[in-house]
């Protein structure tokens, strides 16, 4: 079987001043995988993920996405295909609707309310949430809504940076089942986590320590 690489990272380094945060990382990521990136705090995991998402650029080395360097893609088009979800997201505007409208605005498309309502159901939120004030949603709900912003137009890769940190078990389970479902539909997921149960449940892992990949299973 031919393995299709979605990312091919070659000799990737990232430096801030004299400090080397990532040191010549080389790793390949297969299409459709659900990979957990682990390692101690400050090891460079988030920096690695942000480079993959083109939120920052590497100091040297290159990242190939579907065989082409990330720099050869138009940045906004690339980030619609490789979406990044933050640990503590902020909600935009006044209502949940403003947030779920945003991906449509990005693509200059008309807001599809019925589609959005279906997605809300997927994360156990009923349609009344659409007009809820962003100040009236809990931390767990906020994270679910934020993830929906990433997934309403499914990207090819979703990068999540500790998105379940601080969530209760119920919220974690909702997020897990949503991400599993998308992964089964073909979405490649790269997640950073410190959660022991998530790490244990992972089949594919990349371990980063002191800016280097020490284990790639």
């Amino acid at each position: 079987m031919i393995v299709e690489k979605i990312f091919d990272v070659q000799d990737l380094s990232y430096q801030v001043g004299d400090k080397e945060i990532l040191k010549r990382i080389s790793v390949e990521i297969e299409k459709g995988k659900y990979i957990t990136v682990v390692g101690p705090s400050g090891s460079g995991k988030s920096t690695f993920m942000r480079i993959l998402a083109s939120m920052i650029s590497q100091t040297s080395g290159k990242v190939l996405f579907n065989g082409k360097t990330v720099d050869s893609y138009e940045p906004t088009e690339y980030r619609q295909r490789v979406s990044y979800a933050f640990q503590q997201p902020t909600l935009f505007g006044k209502t949940v609707r403003d947030n779920l409208m945003f991906p449509f605005e990005v693509r200059n498309e008309e807001f599809d309310e019925s589609k959005v309502k279906q997605y809300l159901k997927m994360v156990n939120l009923d349609e009344s949430y659409l007009d809820k004030s962003v100040n009236d949603v809990s931390g767990g709900e906020k994270q679910r809504i934020a993830l929906l912003r990433n997934l309403i137009f499914p990207p090819e890769v979703l990068i999540t940076d500790e998105v379940t940190a601080g969530l209760d078990v119920e919220n974690k389970n909702i997020v897990h089942s949503m991400l599993n479902e998308f992964n089964q539909r073909g979405l490649t997921i790269l997640r950073v986590t410190h959660d022991e149960s998530e790490i244990e449940a992972s089949q594919d892992k990349i371990t980063i320590k002191n800016g280097e990949v020490v284990d790639n299973v």
């Binding site: 939120m55 906004t76 933050f86 902020t90 935009f92």
Partner: protein, 257 residues
């Protein structure tokens, strides 16, 4: 015109007002005596020079000399507005374009509609009024932009991560910054005549012009300042926000405090 009675001797007597400020500073231990003295000396020297230069320009009544004054005022205002950019790249160039376009359009409209004549005694002071107003507006725009980019950088990162273009990601900041540049002009318009009798109108009344006629000039100045601050704010903000991103449409960390 006989009402204008300021002479060198009356000015000397008026200096007593500076002493009032110095005494207050001394009693309250504000340590601002040096600043006050430097400020007063600079004001006297600068205004005296400008007075003689204006006298020469008005007497010469030469189109090129008038245009030279226009350019000097615009460049000077742009330099000062650029300094208020506080680290925003190309702040001077953006300010120059904003002030040049804002001043030219406003001044051009005034001349074209016959509100003022293309003579140095009208063009030079009106250019100064317009350019300084845009300069202040740009300073406010830049300050607001820098602050809100820092305050809301997480939100911008999230919008970029969702594939938004830099304009969509910064749209709220852009609108707030343009508004912050225009707001003082809008606020001052609301209280015109009720709280303040602005410079142009006061000057004309001082010079013995009928207050009703002076009001007409002030209304014209109001229109002029409203137009110029909106043009200046929009241009400087639209050029300014781009500087917060690099060519890969990533937020520049060095500009976020």
């Amino acid at each position: 015109m006989s009402n204008l009675t300021v002479s060198n001797s009356t000015l000397m007597l008026g200096f007593v007002l500076v002493i009032v400020a110095l005494v207050i500073g001394y009693i309250e231990k504000l340590h601002i005596d040096k600043d006050i003295i430097i400020g007063v000396v600079r004001a006297i020297i600068q205004l005296s020079i400008v007075g003689y230069v204006l006298k020469f320009v008005i007497k010469a009544d030469d189109i090129w000399l008038t245009l030279a004054c226009f350019i000097i005022i615009v460049i000077n205002a742009s330099y000062n507005a650029g300094k208020r950019g506080n680290g925003i790249p190309k702040a001077f160039q953006s300010s120059l374009l904003a002030i040049f376009v804002g001043t030219t359009i406003t001044l051009g409209t005034l001349v074209f509609t016959g509100s003022i004549k293309f003579v140095p005694e009208q063009i030079v002071p009106v250019t100064g009024m317009i350019a300084s107003n845009i300069m202040v507006a740009i300073g406010l725009c830049y300050r607001n932009m820098k602050q809100t980019f820092s305050d809301r950088h997480q939100q911008i990162l999230e919008k970029l991560a969702l594939g938004a273009d830099i304009k969509l990601a910064s749209l709220d900041i852009l609108r707030d910054s343009i508004k912050s540049g225009m707001q003082p002009t809008i606020d001052s318009i609301k209280t015109l005549g009720l709280v303040s009798l602005p410079g142009m109108m006061s000057g004309l009344i001082f010079a013995g012009v009928d207050p009703v006629k002076a009001i007409k000039y002030q209304i014209m100045v109001t229109f002029m300042l409203l137009a110029s601050t909106s043009i200046g704010s929009i241009i400087s903000c639209y050029l300014g926000y781009r500087q917060f991103f690099n060519e890969r449409k990533q937020l520049k960390n060095e500009l976020i405090s």
